[in-house]
Point group: C6
Chain length 280, copies 6
């Protein structure tokens, strides 16, 4: 590990307890293809990975379950336009009379061999995207310019990002020089059976109702050809189920959970509403 | 609750007295549909909620009354273009010789299981919108990157936002990946009888005058088809009532309260003025 | 009053002596309609008010005189593009070893029940406009997020803003959700007699010359139909009067006071100049 | 004078020695019309003034000479896009253990009754332009929001700005609400005789050569009709004279002093060069 | 070496241990032309160098191997839009009671005669590009304006940048005044034999499989004429090899490693996929 | 010298040792016209100067040699988009317990009568350009608003800027009000003989080879009519010579030194390459 002994000698380095980031919950993730084996191979091969797939199809859950399976801490960063390199790398803080350096989430992850998950990475500013370059080529180092140091990533460290090309605005595309540093694993909505099982176990509805919600979901997703931006996610079907269990009338529950959310187009809302009526 | 013991050990954490945010006033909210039951179901199901509906139709009052009903503190944040993630999450402050961390309103709400209401959420910068992602999926955590910690939301915590699609500028739309994390409850102006009751009790005018104001309101709202941006709100009708009670001549009171405010178009102002003359 | 005892306990709160803001001058304001009674009714009804009317027609003087009449302190804020929420609400300052919170003008006004006048409010950034929302609905509170506190407005407090729709750029319009929180009082240039009196008493010119200046003003205002952006204000007519009294030749005084200022269009300047020659 | 005794009591207020701003030099300004009497009348009438006229025609010198004549200190601020309100008003500084407030140039000028000259005022950001509103209406106060105070301008204080409508970009025009607070004094290039005298006395050339340079200047200014942005200023003619006196060949001196500077258009440069050849 | 003794005397100067930046790894770089001799000549002649060539073709490795060969420390900076001059030059930090100056990576490199490699230099803000001007002409100095000093570069110091004209957006082109300070060395993908050797040794696949991957790579690169933005890099072929060795089915490994990454165009993805099927 | 004794008394003023900026090197500058005499006349006449001419034609060297000839320190500032007024003027720094004011390069230059050279001045932000106005008219003062002081320039002080109209983007043109404060000295490539001498002495190539490079340079510069942005500079010809002396094959040396750098247009590159082949 390269590092600047001088500044580090002058200054206390704070890094979070990485145990806090171990995944303890029992995240139920039901495999839908080879993605578990593929992710594990990428991790063993120290290859960074892009996860692609529609909103709410389970990418976060998948990473959680993989982190648990591999016994690595998971550090998730929701990317956004104002996420600066400092937010990822760390910053100087004055504590009492002392200046301390506080590791950011990416530095913490590199130091401790965690899986760092940058959710919707293209939303971040360009400096975030470039900061990961030296981490994702033969060097596998993280330069901390403001600390005058660079730290090397252990083999356990893995960088995972989510990215949906075509979904984000044209302006926000990954540059080839960034994208060609990652392997890609693609996700889709779960199969009918898997989805029914998920809805049933998470919302507590009957098998029948869960089946009806899955059916509605499938039909709504077909509306994407007719102009719907994005299909209904499993999450929203679970919302509908939960609301029904908590006493909301089934059609009203679907209205709350996804009719209004999927689109502002009154006609498409009507089409979704009709599909709900057909199955409930 | 995950958290960085190190930084927290070094630093005092300030969080407001959440009792200050308990709703003590007798907010009169008159139910107009199933919204009370629906909101309560969403709260019990830990489902975040979007409130939709025209300006001044009572969304703030509704949230106040629900917070009181459920016995939860209510923390309201008026969103705007310059609202940064730090404004919601908190920041470091130097007090005397000591650096303290002051919880922002969202962190306060998560820590104490409050209802946090982000008013006109799309007005906020993108980082605000993304900061709520991990709070609104299976994780229900709030990462405080600048504190090197993340806190878990208790089941009591609820995130409520108001959002009017189509009303805000095109540029400011919620991304599907954000919007599909919420259930939706829709609001409209109150019914004729409810509105008359509200105007009467809040302004002190007679039943007859309240009825005339309601009638004017209904007719003005029909002008939306002829180009009016937004109908007259109950609040403005109450203003007119109050001004009349305080001695302003009825037509002048309407002129002050809503003829000039609803539109800058001289022709439409004339139409509104004519409606006032017809009923007063 | 809700407030965070914790931070307030740690920190000194500075707020200006509100007596400094009591209006002591003898602001001469000559009533032109019902505006005095209307303003007083709005104040008694705790209704915020928008003042509309052309540049220099006396809106500032009117607010001054009302503040004096009602015995309330007056705090005026000239809004501009860089006016941030902090400029209105207050900020932390380090004084010696101590961090103190200094109330901004809006907070001062709310704390002490003043009339706060936001001049040309749409010039302010959006966060200013939204910061006043909770002050202008049923809550009448001012959330001070950076202090972790919110303060309630006493009944004496009144928010007044000036706004000229159509005059400012299209981009700068009040959103309906802001505008529908205010009642409106409209202003226009004073009547012929009132204006002559004002010019005479403020500049010291003779009744005749004052009358000639009023006549010029009326005729110039008619040029608005021929492309003049804004008519000549009473203030500029007073300037002309003062310059004449101080020895500037009458036509040169008008040239200095308003021929050059009203427009950069050479033809329109010629038309204004001709009107001056006709009457002097 | 209104002011916040509290903050002022806690904090040392620094204001420059205004004597440093008294004009001691013998600024030669040769009157070209009534501008001296007009300026003095405006100063006596506490009327703020706009100076209009082409680059380098002597506006700065005029203000200097007036400040000297009236015995007032002169504080000049060159406005630019990044000039913020704080740059004009003042700011908090930490000196040793103490926070001090340092008056900016406008505050200094108001406190001491100086003439404050904002050169090219429209170049400043909007907040600068609005900050001067309360100084230029019946109030004549300067609100110092960051100090929680406002100070009243003594009668000696005068605000002078330079502004060239049509010359600056369209985007940068003074709003009527700002412009109608000022009287205007217009400048032009000096007369032939005055200009010859100025060139002769400032550069040391012979009367003849000075006359030739004036002749060139007149002819070059006529090129404005053929596309030249701005005519040659007296300053550049003085440069040419000085360079000749210091040994540069006359035509080369003109080439250096103004042929290249007036335009980048090769054809127009040729026309200017030809005019030089005709007279030297 | 010019420098400001005053500020340096007042302040501790921190500069990283440059030994930390010596290249210790055995970076395998296989020469493909004269680039090693050319780079060495440029270094001896103190001529700064631009490296051009497609993503992932080995530019970083080349610089690493040259730094090792020449025995110079290597300091790499990944450039991005938010990289400011301070990030390169250094900044003041408060450590305890003391202000220290921390050298940035460029200053460190100049002080110690390192090779400084600015990766994708045009991504940096303009100030970065201009900061290097005095380093790359006859002066070879680095002005540190914030330290009031300038330091001279020893002959060992070399500035290397990577730049791909035509690849970055039009807006981001090096100005001639910057570009004409560098000599250029151009890179391309390695030859068939070299690439097979690299893939084999880095991923552990058999010679045959490595050959097949090379063949796929060549064919994919030909698709650039049919609209592919950038050909497949050696790095991605190595990824495919590694994934195969770790048990991923060969076609799925290619799918992960480069089919999805090279383009979002479904048709082009099909073409790449077909090429994979043809060879595996 | 005007200055605020108050603030200066409270605060230590740091200014670099101006001796460090005396030019000690033997900068070889070979005169190509009257520029030496012209510059000296401008300096004696306290006239600020603009240097115009193509990239790499020796403007920096010329200023260096003039500074040496006139015995003045030389302070060079490479201008860029983020160069703020503070970077030129100076700033407050906290050193230990004390606030010190550190002069920026322009202030240093004014205080000590140096030649200050602002390289590519139009790249600077507008505030830089305006900050120099009071330095370049009859006042010759530098207002330091943040220090509450202004300092007068001694006669030795000279401001020199480089500016290439037409070369920089349209948006970045000097305003007439700035440009008309300077005299202009124009530069061009050196004559054939001078250039051959320079190449020979700086690179060590034979007279013959130097002559061939000069010939290539001349022919390449003629390509400007065919679309080349900027001709090859003497600097790049020297690079080619150096690389040849260090063992690079002559054509490859030219390829590295200027074929790739002058243009990204493949056709024009071919034309340059052909010219190289014709002469080597």
């Amino acid at each position: 590990m390269h590092s600047s002994k001088i500044l580090e000698g002058l200054m206390r380095i704070l890094t979070p307890n990485v145990e806090d980031y171990l995944v303890s919950e029992d995240a139920v993730y039901i495999e839908t293809g080879e993605e578990v084996a593929q992710f594990e191979a990428a991790w063993r091969g120290t290859i960074p990975v892009i996860l692609q797939g529609p909103t709410g199809c389970g990418k976060s859950r998948f990473v959680s379950s993989m982190a648990k399976k591999l016994g690595r801490p998971l550090i998730t960063v929701a990317c956004h336009e104002d996420l600066s390199a400092s937010d990822l790398l760390g910053r100087h803080l004055i504590v009492g009379d002392e200046t301390v350096w506080c590791d950011g989430p990416l530095t913490t992850g590199v130091r401790h061999g965690a899986i760092v998950y940058l959710d919707e990475v293209v939303e971040a500013r360009n400096d975030t995207l470039v900061v990961i370059h030296p981490l994702t080529d033969h060097r596998r180092v993280l330069p901390l310019e403001r600390l005058g140091a660079q730290i090397s990533a252990p083999d356990d460290f893995m960088l995972v990002v989510s990215y949906n090309p075509g979904y984000q605005s044209v302006r926000k595309e990954m540059k080839p020089s960034t994208r060609q540093r990652f392997a890609t694993i693609e996700f889709d909505y779960p199969s009918k059976d898997v989805e029914r099982e998920v809805i049933k176990s998470e919302s507590g509805v009957s098998s029948e109702l869960a089946g009806a919600l899955v059916e509605i979901g499938l039909r709504v997703r077909e509306l994407k050809q007719r102009g719907l931006d994005e299909g209904v996610s499993t999450r929203l079907l679970v919302y509908a189920g939960k609301l029904i269990v908590l006493g909301v009338e089934p059609k009203a529950a679907c209205e709350m959970a996804f009719v209004k959310n999927l689109t502002d187009d009154r006609q498409l809302q009507g089409a979704v509403r009709a599909l709900v009526s057909d199955h409930l």
